[in-house]
Symmetry: C2
Subunit: 252 residues, 2 copies
């Protein structure tokens, strides 16, 4: 049984605490947050603590706080020579204080407190200097049902950047479509099967092979018509232009 303390109660900390709490072979022995969690009684009777001096000994400490708070929190931990990891996509492992053994346990997924997500199938990117520590982190991920990848800090930064494209920027495409359909009293519901199918398609085809549409075909008539439809939205029009040009470059 691997004992784990989670530090942080944001989106990642909350989903991870729950997953570890429920996993066989893992024991969430404490969930730390500097301020008590609102509606804490909802949280499955886990041992909650907001005093750093009360953190118990554990096999693994997972710091799941915002990037800006990781360095300071890792410095203030009142113990040493234990395994401490962060869950950030963009920060190097070296942001953790070196009084403890360091590592990274980055779940490559989007988390919202309001959205249910099963933690299995979330790829976990692992980094640690020590071979035993890497093995322990791999065991924890596997106990959660997650595929694991050994990823360097440099690679992880690129991965985090790529995640911004497929998650935040993609979601902004949905948002712009929502604005356009709302304006014509069209139900956004209409676009949902297409959104899902677009994501499903690249599970088996490469994005290159999956591409269709006027920009790929260089169908100038349709491109012109779309730009005209956007003439009262110059900023969305600019986005239309730059992305059509990018598709044309990929397929031209």
């Amino acid at each position: 049984m691997i004992s784990v303390v989670i530090l942080g109660a944001g989106n990642v900390g909350t989903h991870m605490s729950r997953a570890i709490f429920e996993a066989k072979n893992l024991k969430l022995i404490q969930w730390f947050n500097k301020t008590p969690i609102p509606n804490f009684t909802d949280y499955w009777g886990v041992n909650f603590n907001s005093d750093l001096d009360q953190i118990p000994e554990a096999d693994l400490y997972i710091i799941a706080v915002s990037d800006g708070a990781i360095e300071n929190l890792s410095e203030r931990l009142p113990f040493s020579d234990r395994l401490v990891v962060h869950t950030s996509g963009s920060l190097s492992m070296r942001f953790l204080n070196n009084k403890n053994r360091r590592g990274v346990f980055y779940p490559l997924q989007t988390f919202s407190k309001t959205s249910e997500l099963s933690f299995d199938q979330v790829p976990i990117c692992i980094e640690a200097n020590d071979k035993k520590d890497r093995a322990l982190l791999k065991s924890v991920a596997e106990a959660l049902g997650c595929p694991t990848y050994m990823i360097s800090s440099e690679q992880r930064q690129t991965l985090h950047l790529a995640a911004v494209f497929v998650n935040n920027f993609t979601n902004q495409m949905y948002r712009l479509a929502h604005e356009l359909t709302d304006e014509k009293s069209l139900d956004f519901e209409l676009l949902k099967p297409l959104i899902l199918e677009t994501a499903k398609k690249v599970q088996t085809l490469s994005p290159y092979m999956a591409q269709t549409g006027p920009a790929k075909r260089n169908d100038k008539k349709t491109l012109k018509k779309h730009l005209k439809l956007l003439q009262e939205h110059p900023k969305i029009q600019d986005i239309y232009k730059i992305l059509s040009e990018s598709i044309r470059k990929t397929h031209g």
Copy 2:
């Protein structure tokens, strides 16, 4: 039993022929294409024809050819006063020759010959002047298991534009992520659960509510780091800037 002739053997024509062929209460009495279909013996013993003069009488003719070919094909049909529809997202119903009763039967989905897709759940956008014709088109869509929406030509154009954002532009986000990960020898597989979850999230949350990430938080440190990572890709860097700015505007 509603009898249907499909004209065209592109992505839409092929998927639609198969779905109509397999549907109860619908009879695909002919599949027309100006040139014979390669490997036609694969096509489930349907009555295939490439001679316009051999098109039989039917309740409905669905023209599923490229936008540029619709007007001409509808002119050359050797009959009149029958119901003829096209499947285009961007063309007005008026592109069909008025010797026949006209309509639109636009499936709002992405189709590839290489990708299996079940036709039910595909929203069908219907337009027709005649009430009876609208009812017939609705019956056909329902026999395919599809939700139906009555959509004007003007609304349909906006819908098609919105579809470019959630499908072609989103797919280009996947493509750019693929380029970035390839360059660092990272497996694109890693991003697939995130791609799927991003699409699933907006099935129940609005894109506005679903958004996360550095641009939404206006996390300047991460934005700067990402732009630096893209310094050798000025075109991708421009896309990063314009989309981060768009997110900032939405959530600012």
